[in-house]
């Protein structure tokens, strides 16, 4: 029984650590949706490019890890702005589904661009962070680090959104798109800042994920869908809802994986999602209308 409890506790802790990263992923997507009212289906592919960026900066050009991280975050932020200017802004007035499909096209494009440029071989940073042993439990430092940075990133975004003028304008626009423009907020500028912020969060996620996972052009598919589900479960555009949903999902995956294969953890999480959609169709925390 004692051994069992240790495993259970380890799975719980790993679930919390995974939850932190998932919460960070969903935050970026929620921010974009809440403010611009667009779903970036290719969000995970931006992260994939960020991971390649980290690989080249750190392993090929031998930049220090932190510097590589900063460059990577800035780079993906620029990609986010580019995505908005090139694809989203011509479609702002179009049907939402068309916007969704257009970013689906970007997903194809980024995946295959990565295949063409970098090949399909798995790559990794080639560094293994030590594993923390705590009274019989094994917890990897890379996960702890990812969790810590994800929390710091989320707190910074929270402070930015609540304590600065621009942040207030972003939140205001997410509440009422029409009125805020009449109040003199330049919505184009806000959209650009939000896209950069969303891209930057994807960049941060890339820096953290690259510590734990191998990089290949289709890596986005392994955590992209789960991010969308988290956002929907927590109500699209609702930051707090996404945060809670991320931890619920992560625990289901971690505990499901404890009793069986990791895939069954995912199957359980997906099934939970569909059942929750029946019970609370507007998400865990329905958005104020």
């Amino acid at each position: 029984m004692g051994i069992f409890d240790i495993y259970l506790l380890e799975a719980l802790i790993n679930g919390v650590l995974l939850g932190g990263v998932l919460a960070l992923l969903s935050l970026g997507l929620n921010l974009i949706f809440g403010v611009i009212d667009v779903v970036w289906i290719c969000y995970a592919e931006l992260i994939m490019l960020g991971m390649y960026g980290m690989y080249f900066l750190y392993s090929v050009y031998h930049l220090p890890l932190v510097a590589a991280g900063v460059v990577c975050i800035a780079g993906v932020a620029v990609l986010g702005v580019l995505l908005h200017v090139v694809v989203i802004s011509p479609l702002l007035g179009a049907a939402p589904i068309n916007q969704l499909l257009a970013t689906g096209g970007v997903l194809f494009f980024l995946q295959s661009a990565a295949t063409v440029m970098f090949g399909v071989e798995f790559k990794n940073l080639g560094m293994r962070l030590p594993v923390l042993k705590l009274s019989g439990m094994f917890i990897s430092y890379s996960r702890l680090l990812a969790f810590g940075f994800a929390l710091v990133g989320m707190v910074l975004v929270y402070l930015f959104l609540t304590r600065t003028y621009t942040g207030t304008a972003i939140r205001a626009i997410s509440q009422d798109r029409q009125i805020m423009v009449l109040m003199g907020v330049d919505s184009r500028r806000i959209y650009l800042i939000t896209s950069a912020l969303g891209g930057g969060l994807a960049g941060l996620a890339a820096c953290l994920l690259v510590l734990q996972y191998d990089i290949h052009p289709f890596v986005g598919l392994s955590f992209g869908p789960i991010t969308f589900l988290i956002c929907v479960l927590g109500s699209l555009g609702n930051f707090a809802g996404g945060f809670v949903a991320a931890f619920v999902f992560a625990e289901i995956i971690a505990l499901g994986g404890l009793y069986s294969d990791l895939e069954w953890g995912y199957v359980l999480a997906f099934a939970f999602f569909i059942v929750m959609m029946f019970i609370r169709p507007q998400g865990l925390m329905a958005r104020r209308s």
Binding site: F33, V39, V87, P90, L91, A94, A95, P96, I97, N98, L100, L101, A102, G104, G105, V106, L107, F108, F109, L110, Q111, S112, A113, A114, T115, V116, V120, P217, L221, G224, P225, I226, F228, L229, C231, V232, L236, S260, D261, E263, W264, Y266, V267, F270, A271, F273, I274, M277, F278, P281
Partner: protein, 325 residues
């Protein structure tokens, strides 16, 4: 479509494999026909603003149920395929009913169905002891090659005729839906659900009908693909990329015209083959690269697709407004 032209074209398509027997082009034609049918199945509901990203899941169910029934239970595909279609219909109803009942539309519907294709992919991968997981799965060959009982044929001509027949049935269903009351109901729903409900349209029931129809057709495409290729893997018949591939080809061809998805399939498959032949293994990724760019350009500039826009140029038709979901 009036006059003798469609009949002539139909006769030419049926006669083609007897005149022209080169196996490789026939193989490409069979593949094009099967995928055209799958894309048509998607557009049957996609044209009403019901953007499903779950069709990869239905296709996977169609392919895997048929193959598993044959290998594990020794069930002939003649029974296995109906079983697969029923399974896809049940799956579609179970997921879609609450969606429509609770008014999950637009983004939400697309993402819930995305979860569905994710689940099917993960279940296939997780049950790798039975399905072979991501390595793929092969229905057992019937002794002696061709057999009507096992629905396995070595002759490409046979497969061409089967695929042609199924494709034609797909188009016929498309036309039937186009001429039905269901179409008017669904167009009204796409414009404004509440207003449609107020005028007496049973929103949930109508949407459910078209979704189950579309899912069953897609599952048939999956089963057909499985029987033709005799090899299926989660990446080729299920999952999110297959779903997106369907949406993409249908949108490029044009989802508001009957032959649009077919045109989409021809363009995408021919493009992939041309790139593959001219560049060999170096072409890996280039086809999707071109698709991705095309998809974005099409949605921005030609939301009605290639064929839809061409038909518009030829003669001004009644306006087919984009559904504003």
């Amino acid at each position: 479509m009036t006059g003798v032209l469609p009949w002539l074209a139909g006769a030419a398509l049926v006669g083609l494999p007897f005149v022209y027997t080169s196996p490789y082009p026939l193989h490409i034609l069979v593949i094009i026909l099967i995928w055209s049918f799958a894309y048509t199945s998607w557009s049957v509901m996609g044209r009403f603003g019901l953007t499903s990203l779950g069709h990869g899941g239905f296709m996977g169910v169609g392919a895997y149920v048929t193959a598993l029934a044959w290998n594990k239970a020794g069930l002939s595909p003649w029974l296995g395929i109906p079983l697969a279609l029923v399974a896809a219909a049940v799956l579609a109803a179970v997921v879609a009913y609450p969606c429509f009942r609770f008014k999950i539309t637009g983004h939400y519907f697309a993402l819930v169905t995305l979860a569905l294709s994710g689940i099917v992919l993960q279940v296939i991968t997780a049950t790798r002891d039975h399905t072979g997981g991501s390595l793929g799965y092969t229905p057992e060959r019937y002794q002696g090659g061709s057999s009507l009982y096992a629905l396995q044929f070595t002759s490409k001509t046979t497969w061409y005729l089967i695929a042609l027949g199924v494709w034609a049935v797909g188009l016929w269903i498309w036309y039937r839906v186009d001429r039905s009351m269901l179409r008017y109901a669904l167009e009204a729903i796409a414009e404004d659900e509440d207003a449609a409900a107020a005028t007496g349209v049973h929103v949930t029931a109508e949407k459910l009908k078209i979704t189950v129809l579309s899912a069953v057709m897609t599952a048939l495409a999956g089963a057909l693909y499985c029987q033709y290729q005799l090899f299926i893997s989660p990446d080729t018949v299920s999952g999110i990329s297959v779903s997106l591939q369907m949406v993409f080809a249908a949108v490029v061809g044009g989802i508001y015209v009957a032959y649009g998805p077919t045109v989409g399939a021809v363009i995408t498959i021919v493009l992939a083959e041309v790139l593959r032949i001219s560049f060999g293994t170096r072409a890996v990724g280039w086809d999707n690269l071109v698709y991705g760019i095309l998809l974005v350009i099409f949605i921005v500039f030609l939301p009605k697709g290639i064929l839809g826009s061409l038909l518009d140029l030829r003669r001004p038709r009644r306006p087919t407004a984009l559904p504003s979901t």
